[in-house]
């Protein structure tokens, strides 16, 4: 199965290489940004499952807007917050295709709240990747609905004041309540183990869509070194220490285990 090469007369297996499904263009993401890892993993799964011809992706407005520059599949770029609606349009005319979105927390949990909730409620046969980095990365680090209490951002310079701005919103728990969702899970890519789990979640979500089970939402609790104003390594520490306790990892809903 796996590729083998020879070096110094000895055979080596290729354990990992850049997925074929990634285009040559280098990602514009900041160093250490989880967006890159997610797209890498999605293309690994699409490649391994041979889904290229069967897949249409939707990129949002947010840092992953350019996903179509990296992922070598047919893609549409959706208006800010409307990726789930665009995916609905695609999925309804191509019920047999695998349709997914990648969306940030501003996109999905602020301006796109209605589209998200209703796509999930209708049980659109799509996969939603929700990159929750608790900030508006693309526009320069403003507060998102998922920004943590007290977190300083460029639009909450005194720290998020929950009395004025509300508490961080937990979208996965909300959509898990809707009968239309078949699989809701929270993952991270902050450790090799979690990367593997994320990949497994992607696989499972794609299988659900191929089996027409309804909406799968995979929340990637992510980081944003630039928006958080940290080095990548420090962002990983903050991620583990602050993000994951607030947004605990694990399966929130899985109709297969009910």
């Amino acid at each position: 199965m796996s590729k083998v090469i020879e070096r110094d007369g000895v055979q080596y297996e290729v354990i990992w290489e850049k997925p074929k499904g990634l285009k040559e263009k280098q990602m514009h993401y900041c160093p250490g940004c989880a967006h890159s890892t997610l797209e890498k993993l999605i293309m690994e799964v699409i490649g391994e499952k041979g889904l290229t011809e069967n897949t249409i992706g939707v990129s949002p407005v947010g840092c992953s807007v350019f996903a179509y520059d990296y992922m070598d599949i047919d893609m549409q770029q959706a208006a800010h917050g409307r990726a789930a609606a665009v995916a609905t349009g695609i999925s309804r005319v191509f019920p047999d295709k695998l349709v997914f979105t990648i969306q940030g927390d501003g996109d999905l949990a602020a301006i796109g709240t209605a589209e998200t909730i209703h796509a999930c409620n209708r049980g659109e046969n799509i996969v939603i990747f929700f990159v929750n980095n608790a900030i508006y990365g693309m526009t320069g680090g403003q507060m998102a609905p998922t920004t943590l209490e007290g977190q300083i951002t460029s639009s909450s310079p005194h720290g998020r004041d929950v009395k004025l701005a509300g508490h961080p919103i937990k979208i996965s728990e909300l959509v898990a309540q809707l009968p239309g969702t078949c699989f809701v899970t929270r993952v991270a890519v902050n450790t090799p183990q979690n990367v593997k789990k994320t990949k497994a979640a992607i696989e499972k979500a794609f299988n659900n869509a191929l089996d027409k089970k309804g909406t799968s939402l995979v929340e990637l609790v992510g980081n944003c070194p630039s928006g958080w104003k940290m080095t990548p390594v420090n962002s990983y520490i903050w991620w583990e220490k602050n993000m994951i306790p607030m947004y605990p990892l694990g399966v929130i809903k899985d109709v297969d285990n009910n």
Binding site: T52, E53, Y68, D74, M75, Q76, Q77, R82
Partner: protein, 349 residues
């Protein structure tokens, strides 16, 4: 000649769209166009054609974006306030060059206004209610028959030019019943190799986008769009002329008010006044050349609109000062009376 039906304009439009090969409809209820959605809700699921009652007009237009990006024949319909909510989506569709047919069954604005017929959304339709330099081709039916004819025409134009086409109707056209006959509509015959349908190994990935972050690139996109708009302006025109040959006063009117204009022309002819009607069936591109042609024989032009005067600007721009012109109209759902139009005609002499 096929069977004649007595139908509401809204229903005729829906039925004709199905016959014209509709692949998907996304919409949200709003008076006075809900019958379109209702008709589709009854007929499309039976036929296995995609139908979604969306959670809002914003969602509808973005569903249209998605399905149109797949190269399908897609439609949404709404009325004025709902169309305002679609402005961002329309601008995206225009830039991403997605063919689709949009329907605005106008009611009186601004604001929540009234649900009675109006033509107050002309500017929004032809100048670009959304941001940036873009155009839609805008069709203006004036009868239930034309409500039925225009979806097919719309899809053809949309696919030919990769442009959104707007059918600009109004509450009267949507709600009234008249006789209507459905035709054999042409099937889609343009290859849409740009559409996202799943990437086969042999071709590059197709991307539907309106994002061009570099100014140099964005300018090229803009130039390309403008070239297309120029081409359409050259190639696309549809006007009905009524007593134009010898007219000295012209009414320019579209949609429901063009019918009142016709009546006013009749009344004036009875009185020996040589009035004529130019009725754009396509509002964008505007029939500037037709107007200019008749300007040479005319004493004056009246733009008859159920608005405060919007199309009058395009009439004036076409005339460019060569002949005098004025607006006449009523607002808020009031219908201009042919007798009053007649007075305006006489005042131009």
């Amino acid at each position: 000649m096929g069977e004649i039906h007595l139908m509401k304009g809204n229903e005729a439009l829906a039925e004709a769209s199905i016959r014209a090969g509709l692949d998907a409809y996304f919409g949200y209820p709003i008076t006075p166009q809900s019958e379109i959605l209702e008709y589709f809700s009854r007929e499309l699921p039976k036929k296995g054609i995609a139908f979604v009652q969306a959670e809002s007009e914003v969602a509808s237009i973005n569903m249209v974006y998605g399905a149109a990006g797949c190269g399908k024949r897609v439609m949404t319909s709404t009325s004025s306030p709902g169309f305002s909510l679609m402005m961002e989506g329309v601008s995206y569709i225009a830039c991403a060059e997605l063919p689709c047919v949009l329907v605005n069954v106008q009611r009186g604005g601004p604001g929540l206004g009234t649900i009675q017929p109006s033509q107050g959304d002309y500017f929004q339709a032809v100048k670009g209610g959304g941001h940036g330099d873009y155009h839609m081709i805008v069709l203006a039916p004036n009868s239930v028959q034309e409500m039925a004819d225009m979806p097919s025409i719309g899809f053809e134009l949309a696919e030919k030019y990769r442009i959104p086409v707007l059918i600009l109707a109004d509450g009267a056209l949507g709600q009234m019943m008249e006789k209507v006959e459905f035709k054999e509509y042409p099937k889609k015959n343009i290859e849409q190799n740009w559409a996202t349908v799943g990437k086969p190994e042999k071709r590059d990935a197709n991307v539907i986008t309106s994002l061009f972050i570099e100014s140099e690139v964005m300018e090229q996109v803009n130039i390309k769009l403008q070239k297309k708009y120029e081409q359409i302006t050259e190639e696309v025109e549809d006007c009905e002329l009524y007593h134009a040959d010898d007219a000295e006063v012209f009414i320019v009117a579209y949609g429901i008010s063009s019918r009142l204009a016709k009546k006013a022309v009749d009344l004036s002819r009875e009185k020996g006044v040589r009035a004529g009607l130019i009725r754009p069936k396509i509002l964008w591109p505007f029939p500037t050349k037709v107007i200019q042609k008749y300007a040479t024989q005319a004493k004056g032009f009246i733009s008859l609109e159920m608005s405060a005067g919007q199309m009058i600007e395009d009439v004036k721009l076409s005339l460019d000062g060569s002949v005098k012109s004025k607006h006449y109209g009523r607002m808020g759902g009031m219908i201009p009376a042919p007798e009053d139009i007649l007075k305006e005609i006489e005042s131009m002499l």
